[in-house]
């Protein structure tokens, strides 16, 4: 039921994910941040086995930091994506990580880029993508509404439409989402979309009789 999606716009990439932490019929928390800031200009949205997700993304993050300390320059997004895929591939036939990843980054020379990395170490460079049951709805929406060089407002609007569709059509849909953005100024949280929990709008879904 976890969803991760990403979209590339003009000189930025957006990565969004739901923020539910679910185990069988119990929702542990509704504000679990699944989009990790790998370094100053990279975002890694991950979904899958909760233990693997945290373990693997933190491992990748620390290795990226180590590279930066050793070489004084950060790894490019493409290099980071290939490194991630390599780690998944190495572990695949021994002790696989059940994690699906959307990796978004910004490099000065290349601009914004987005990578699709699934748990069996498939790597694709993409403009738009999604994981999870939500992808059944998101991908079609993106096919219809995406165009190259979107502005931040257009891209976030597309993500919002995807979120709306997931909330509407997915049984046991995740209610809360986090949207993060990476551009020349760095990777940061852009917004949260919350229907449940402390920060949800108070009036929620009740209608008042006239």
């Amino acid at each position: 039921m976890e969803c991760v999606l990403g979209v590339v716009g003009r000189d930025f990439a957006v990565v969004a994910a739901d923020t539910s932490a679910v185990q069988s019929i119990l929702v542990h928390k509704t504000d679990e941040d699944k989009v990790m800031v790998l370094d100053s200009h990279k975002l890694m949205g991950a979904s899958g086995e909760p233990g693997d997700r945290v373990q693997f993304t933190e491992f990748i993050q620390k290795n990226l930091h180590l590279y930066q300390f050793r070489n004084t320059i950060p790894l490019s997004t493409a290099a980071a994506a290939n490194f991630t895929r390599g780690e998944l591939a190495t572990a695949l036939r021994k002790n696989p990580y059940m994690v699906n990843i959307i990796l978004g980054g910004y490099d000065k020379d290349v601009g914004a880029s987005l990578y699709y990395i699934d748990y069996i170490a498939t790597l694709h460079k993409i403009d738009k993508g999604a994981f999870g049951y939500g992808s059944y709805f998101c991908l079609s929406l993106m096919d219809k509404l995406y165009h190259p060089d979107m502005t931040v407002e257009e891209a976030v609007d597309l993500v919002d439409k995807c979120i709306k569709e997931i909330r509407l059509r997915l049984v046991v849909a995740p209610q809360n989402f986090v949207i993060k953005i990476v551009d020349k100024d760095g990777a940061r949280e852009y917004a949260r979309r919350e229907l449940v929990g402390h920060n949800a709008p108070v009036e929620a879904a009740t209608t008042v009789a006239a």
Partner: protein, 249 residues
């Protein structure tokens, strides 16, 4: 004596570990390095021996960043330094991964010292030929720290210290002139200590400053020259004042 300084580190009859002492000799031949701890700043300074004309000096970094809040300078065998620095960098990230917290300066110093000690008690290896000066800020108390390790694997915390060539003169100078400083005064003290043993000028010194908020910053050559000019002016003023005084005696 000659029988006890073979390729492995074993005790001599009078309790010396000659290999370790010879490693300290290697340190004494290395370039001068100084570290000074202030109230809000820690400074590392290293002597830059004249670079050959065809060498790209940017590829010879004497002060290494171990993590965002820890830096290291060393004196001795540079190749050994590379190995030690690499292991320390991995340990810094490893620590962050396993306990989700950055290392304290003491932790990473203890780790490096532990590594150096291991190589004084293993078969078929020689000790690391370098002493390190490790500076940083404690991530929990925000206090600046300066530590030194040596080839024997001992480490201790210092307010100011020097290692490498002419370290005794520098340490004497620091003992005489140390006082609690902050910001620019700390930088000046470090540069003054280095200038005791190094030829004057920004070309011959590499200085890095670490603060709590801005991490490690290498000073530009021009900046160092500014400090050197200030120091020279102060020295000249002190000399002039001294010359003025004898009227009383």
């Amino acid at each position: 004596m000659a029988r006890y300084d073979r390729a492995i580190t074993v005790f001599s009859p009078d309790g010396h570990l000659f290999q370790v002492e010879y490693a300290l000799e290697a340190v004494r031949k290395g370039n001068a390095a100084v570290g000074v701890r202030g109230t809000d700043t820690v400074v590392l300074g290293v002597e830059k021996k004249s670079t050959p004309k065809l060498q790209d000096s940017r590829s010879v970094r004497k002060i290494a960043c171990l993590d965002t809040h820890i830096a290291l300078a060393c004196a001795g065998l540079k190749a050994d330094a590379r190995v030690l620095i690499n292991r320390a960098r991995v340990e810094c990230q490893s620590h962050r991964l396993t306990v989700e917290d950055p290392v304290t300066v003491e932790y990473i110093t203890r780790y490096i010292a532990g590594l150096q000690q291991k190589y004084t008690q293993s078969g078929g290896v020689r000790p690391f030929g370098l002493s390190t000066l490790i500076v940083g800020f404690d991530p929990y108390t925000d206090k600046p720290a300066l530590y030194q390790t040596d080839p024997s694997g001992t480490f201790s915390a210092w307010k100011a210290n020097a290692t490498g060539r002419n370290s005794n003169s520098m340490r004497e100078f620091l003992e005489k002139n140390y006082k609690e400083t902050s910001g620019k005064e700390t930088i000046k003290l470090a540069i003054r200590a280095l200038l005791e043993v190094v030829e004057s000028g920004g070309k011959n010194i590499e200085v890095a400053v670490m603060t709590k908020n801005d991490g490690l910053r290498e000073l530009e050559e021009a900046e160092i020259d500014e400090y050197v000019a200030e120091i020279d002016a102060e020295k000249a003023a002190a000399e002039a004042a001294k010359k003025g005084a004898p009227k009383d005696t």
